[in-house]
């Protein structure tokens, strides 16, 4: 009984960590530009697919992973330069639609290039399961959790201890004031998009040995990352991480105890509940709007 619970918890935390990375990506871009980036999930897909491609073409594991994270970051920068920047002052609806357009373009190009099949590659350090309290834990899950934890700590350090990080925070508080004290807000936008794309790609690279990847996994993963953002509260970094883990765990528990067929519906039922009863999420700030 308990071992079963533990098993669901393990799988929930593993997927949840990926949602958390995606949610952090959403949060970064939202804070820097007020854009909800619906292409976030495509970066997760891009990470996994590129890692598969490079490994298949014979590159060593570290090099393949590095490229699979660096290239999406470049794509993120291009995306900002080519699609978001020219429409800077547009309405929210317009910007949302642009990011949806970008996600279709990325997905379509990958489908044309690498085909429709599902792909995977071997786990980083073997696939001999570890026994804990009657439940099994894959070594790859430890990689997912470990690297996610590292990334979160690194991000915390970046935003609270470095000048560049603080410049980004300042821009998200008030772009005009940030510009006046000499922060290059253009640069901040680019860094946010690159960073958020890289975060998504890291999630994809880590998760693929466990769940497989294909050109169309981006939508679901991205949307669930987005649910995590809403659960945690739009704009909150801590909220994104907690939200991600929470969505992962709730999804795994519901799949295990209620119905695995409705696993994918759970996060969206959750999002409706959250919007109805606590629209600012768990950690979201109270904002009063000025007219």
């Amino acid at each position: 009984m308990f071992s079963q619970f533990l098993q669901f918890l393990f799988s929930g935390i593993t997927v949840g960590a990926t949602y958390a990375l995606a949610a952090l990506g959403f949060t970064l871009i939202y804070n820097a530009s007020n854009v909800i980036n619906f292409a976030q999930g495509e970066f997760i897909m891009l990470g996994g697919m590129l890692a598969f491609y490079f490994m298949q073409s014979g590159l060593s594991l570290p090099l393949a992973l590095l490229l699979a994270i660096a290239i999406p970051a470049v794509v993120g920068v291009l995306f900002e330069k080519l699609a978001i920047e020219p429409a800077r002052d547009a309405e929210v609806v317009t910007l949302i639609i642009i990011t949806i357009g970008a996600s279709l373009v990325i997905r379509g190009l990958i489908q044309i290039w690498l085909g429709k099949g599902a792909h995977s590659y071997p786990a980083f350090s073997g696939s001999e399961p570890i026994q804990i309290g009657g439940a099994t834990l894959l070594p790859q899950s430890l990689w997912v959790l470990g690297i996610t934890a590292l990334v979160v700590v690194a991000l915390w350090y970046f935003f609270s201890r470095t000048l560049a990080g603080k410049a980004i925070l300042a821009t998200s508080c008030n772009p005009l004031a940030a510009q006046l004290v000499g922060i290059n807000t253009q640069w901040v936008l680019l860094v946010s998009f690159a960073l958020s794309a890289a975060l998504g790609a890291i999630g994809g690279v880590l998760l693929t040995p466990i769940t497989l990847t294909s050109y169309d996994v981006g939508i679901m993963l991205g949307l669930k990352g987005f649910v995590a953002v809403v659960v945690g509260g739009l704009g909150s970094g801590l909220g994104a991480v907690v939200g991600g883990l929470l969505v992962g765990i709730i999804e795994a528990m519901a799949a295990g105890y209620i119905s695995s067929a409705y696993k994918d519906a759970i996060p969206f039922i959750l999002i409706l509940f959250i919007l109805f009863f606590m629209p600012r999420g768990i950690f979201g700030a109270q904002v009063t709007e000025r007219v």
């Binding site: 909800i36 949302i96 642009i98 357009g101 970008a102 373009v105 190009l109 519906a265 969206f268 409706l272």
Partner: protein, 315 residues
């Protein structure tokens, strides 16, 4: 402006719809024309929501799916009359919309996008999973639509049915926009606070227009199901929602002519691109991005501003 002159656009549309069969060479082209009309009617409703009320729906295909599956399931498994099933579908879709809309419209910005997105995906998942009723991912056949002993069948008959519905929707949408209701909608797109101060019940108007657009989406879902004679869960999926939204955006937000043009262009596009697998998605995405960057108002309003008499009539 005389009553007659005001109805010019309606007469032009009627003329086009009447003359079109003269140039349609075969059933394949009839089929495309029918799909264009179906999309145009859904897009008219969606545009009232996105363009005039300034609210975005990322789950509209969910409502189309509700209508389609009501028409598929109720007659074949419960013996309902198809028209009754169609009405029931529309009633269910409207009810879902109303229940969701009330709490959501008190919030602002991205929230409706999130909620409708979640709703659409839940509907699609339910359709895929309840295989005992819906046939699951494989879909299910739909009985033909009979009216008083007369059965609508074949592309040519369906063409006239849809031409009539399209004409009616066009007329209704134009009248709605120029009614006090329409003026209130446009006002709250301009400034919610200002319209609230002027006594517009913002939440009520938004809920009404959302329910109305869900109602039409569901009706057209039923019509699509009967016309094709088969439904699959694809009709309710996220990509279909995006397609519908693209039609609104490309044609022109808050433009009734734009809705028609957007539906016609983007229904034709996949037909033209269907031989290049994958490029269809890329093309859709690129069109969305380019359109939003270079003409954020959409095709018709942008062209109208450039060439036309600016003002009232170009809506």
């Amino acid at each position: 402006m005389s009553v007659l002159k005001r109805q010019y656009p309606l007469m032009i549309l009627a003329g086009v719809l009447l003359l079109l069969p003269l140039v349609l060479p075969n059933n394949y082209y009839y089929d495309i024309a029918i799909r264009m009309a179906i999309n145009a009617i859904i897009v008219l409703g969606l545009n009232l929501l996105i363009g005039f009320a300034g609210q975005i729906s990322l789950g509209h295909a969910g409502f189309v799916g509700v209508g389609a599956y009501a028409s598929a399931i109720l007659p074949s498994q419960f013996g309902w009359h198809p028209l009754l099933a169609m009405g029931a579908g529309a009633a269910i879709a409207s009810t879902i919309a109303a229940i969701v809309a009330r709490p959501i419209f008190r919030l602002k910005g991205h929230y409706l996008a999130m909620a409708t997105l979640g709703l659409g995906i839940i509907i699609a998942i339910v359709i895929k999973n309840e295989a005992a009723y819906t046939g699951g991912p494989d879909g299910m056949p739909v009985a033909p639509l009979g009216l008083m002993g007369f059965e609508i069948s074949g592309e040519k008959q369906w063409y006239w049915v849809l031409a009539a519905i399209l004409l009616f929707s066009f007329w209704a949408a134009r009248n709605l926009i120029d009614s006090p209701f329409g003026r209130a909608l446009r006002a709250l797109h301009g400034s919610e606070v200002a319209s609230q101060v002027m006594g517009v019940d913002v939440v009520r108007y938004k809920v009404t227009i959302f329910v109305l657009s869900a109602f039409f989406a569901s009706l057209m879902g039923s019509v699509t199901a009967h016309y094709i004679g088969f439904v699959t869960p694809n009709i309710a999926d996220f990509f279909h929602s995006i397609e519908l939204m693209t039609m609104v955006v490309v044609g022109g937000m808050a433009s009734i002519y734009g809705s028609l043009i957007g539906a016609v262009l983007l229904t034709a596009l996949p037909q033209a691109l269907s031989t290049f697998e994958g490029w269809e998605t890329v093309a859709f995405g690129s069109i969305l991005i380019l359109c939003m960057i270079f003409m954020p108002k959409g095709l018709v309003p942008t062209l109208a501003a450039r060439f036309g008499r600016n003002g009232q009539e170009d809506r």
